[in-house]
């Protein structure tokens, strides 16, 4: 008799717990997120401390080895080509005539010397007369370093990607994001913690109609940690793919404006 009561009790126990679990499963995400936020809020201090210990242990070792200039250029070029290849394969599935059109005839790089450099801007010796216009992307060591923000006849101002006023659409893995300048580096926010981010993961500038037709590297993830504002999101720090301060010349991407029918 006792054994029978115990068996029923066991089944009931399991049934009640399963019922609770199913309620949690079908409950709206916004409601259940509050539980997770509550936990993160209550144990904010020990969690932050333990993560900081791990991060400091990791950052004491060089995570990204800085090679010489030529090697950086080649690495960036290689990353750009890999991204272009991936993009081309993806587009090939959607547009059968893509390969006939790409690269578009007339697209060019305008070489320019840097005449002045400041913390968040640089001035180059090419302007409207050379085909430059506001919004065009600027390359340094084969990576995006900024966008043209002001144009005169013979000179232009370039807003660097590290400028706090800079916001550029990027791709991190298969996810779209916005990278914002943060003086010496860049920040990506609003990426949920469920998305796996790796240190040294490459970040590519997203193609933009009329300005860029294939992804080009903009930087690499140097650090990712839980956001202070929302513990369910990452706060990702992105380091530029080249040393902007040592640049003496840049290339501006001038996309052909001739309509190709795409």
């Amino acid at each position: 008799m006792a054994r029978k009561r115990s068996r029923i009790s066991r089944r009931m126990l399991f049934t009640w717990f399963m019922l609770g679990a199913l309620i949690l499963l079908i409950a709206p995400q916004q409601m259940t997120n509050r539980l997770q936020l509550f936990f993160a809020h209550i144990f904010h201090w020990p969690l932050r401390m333990s993560r900081d210990i791990m991060l400091s242990a990791r950052t004491s070792q060089p995570t990204i080895k800085r090679a010489d200039r030529t090697e950086i250029q080649l690495e960036n070029r290689n990353a750009n080509l890999e991204a272009m290849l991936a993009e081309a394969i993806q587009r090939d599935k959607e547009l059968t005539n893509f390969l006939r059109e790409y690269p578009r005839p007339g697209d060019k790089f305008v070489f320019a010397n840097i005449t002045k450099i400041s913390a968040d801007e640089l001035v180059i010796n090419r302007g409207e007369n050379h085909g430059l216009k506001v919004g065009q992307f600027v390359l340094g060591d084969n990576s995006i370093i900024g966008t043209v923000c002001e144009v005169t006849a013979y000179t232009s101002k370039v807003r660097l990607i590290t400028s706090p006023r800079s916001q550029i659409a990027v791709r991190l893995g298969d996810r779209d994001a916005i990278v914002e300048g943060n003086e010496t580096a860049m920040k990506i926010q609003l990426i949920p913690k469920s998305y796996k981010v790796k240190t040294a993961q490459k970040v590519f500038c997203k193609p933009k109609t009329g300005f860029l037709y294939s992804p080009i590297i903009i930087g690499t993830v140097s650090e990712h940690r839980e956001s202070n504002k929302n513990p369910l999101l990452w706060e990702i720090t992105v380091e530029p793919a080249c040393d902007i301060e040592t640049l003496t010349s840049v290339d501006v991407i001038v996309v052909n404006s001739v309509k190709t029918g795409r």
């Binding site: 115990s6 009790s9 066991r10 126990l13 399991f14 717990f17 399963m18 609770g20 679990a21 199913l22 949690l24 499963l25 079908i26 409950a27 995400q29 259940t32 539980l35 997770q36 936990f39 144990f43 020990p46 969690l47 401390m49 333990s50 993560r51 210990i53 791990m54 991060l55 990791r58 949920p192 913690k193 469920s194 998305y195 796996k196």
Partner: protein, 160 residues
């Protein structure tokens, strides 16, 4: 069963998993190790309660609520039931039990997360396999300190 000690253990392990271990690329799933421990060394009622509680802890530090509770609860209960039939006494058997439990919970949590609108992961089987293998290798080493903390005598247990 010392429930206060169990609560302290669960909170500590959850914080450890979400804090110190979260930054590592390769890490054992301490919650899976706990589920297997309680399924092996406690009676079935306790195993059911602890499995669901550990699942809840897994969800609290996970991406969505529900998948962990269901996966850990069901698999922990099944393991406890199986332990009545097959003794999981030797360390290699315990390692295998941790590996299988880790793999099954990992996969079921992933698919239940997808039901809740989670992101698809292309290499999920590889990731879960690696994590389970790691948990299986180091898991039995944690059994002794857990047993000491919970005041459970591991050497004197018998198959229920």
């Amino acid at each position: 069963m010392r429930w206060l000690r169990f609560a302290v253990l669960i909170v500590s392990v959850t914080l450890l998993q979400d804090g110190l271990l979260s930054e590592l690329d390769y890490k054992p799933d301490l919650l899976v190790i706990l589920v297997v421990f309680f399924s092996i060394y406690c009676d079935m009622n306790v195993a059911i309660i602890t499995s669901f509680t550990i699942g809840f802890a897994s969800d609290i530090i996970g991406t969505a609520m529900g998948p962990g509770v269901i996966s850990f609860g069901v698999i922990g209960t099944v393991l406890s039931f199986l332990h009545q039939l097959i003794s999981i006494r030797k360390i290699p058997y315990q390692a295998v039990a941790i590996f299988v439990t880790g793999f099954l919970t990992g996969i079921s949590i992933y698919y239940l997360n997808l039901l809740k609108g989670g992101n698809a992961e292309p290499n999920i089987y590889k990731i879960v396999f690696a994590a389970s293998l790691f948990s299986g290798i180091v898991g039995p080493l944690f059994f002794l300190p857990i047993a000491w903390w919970m005041g459970i005598k591991t050497r004197r247990f018998t198959r229920r």
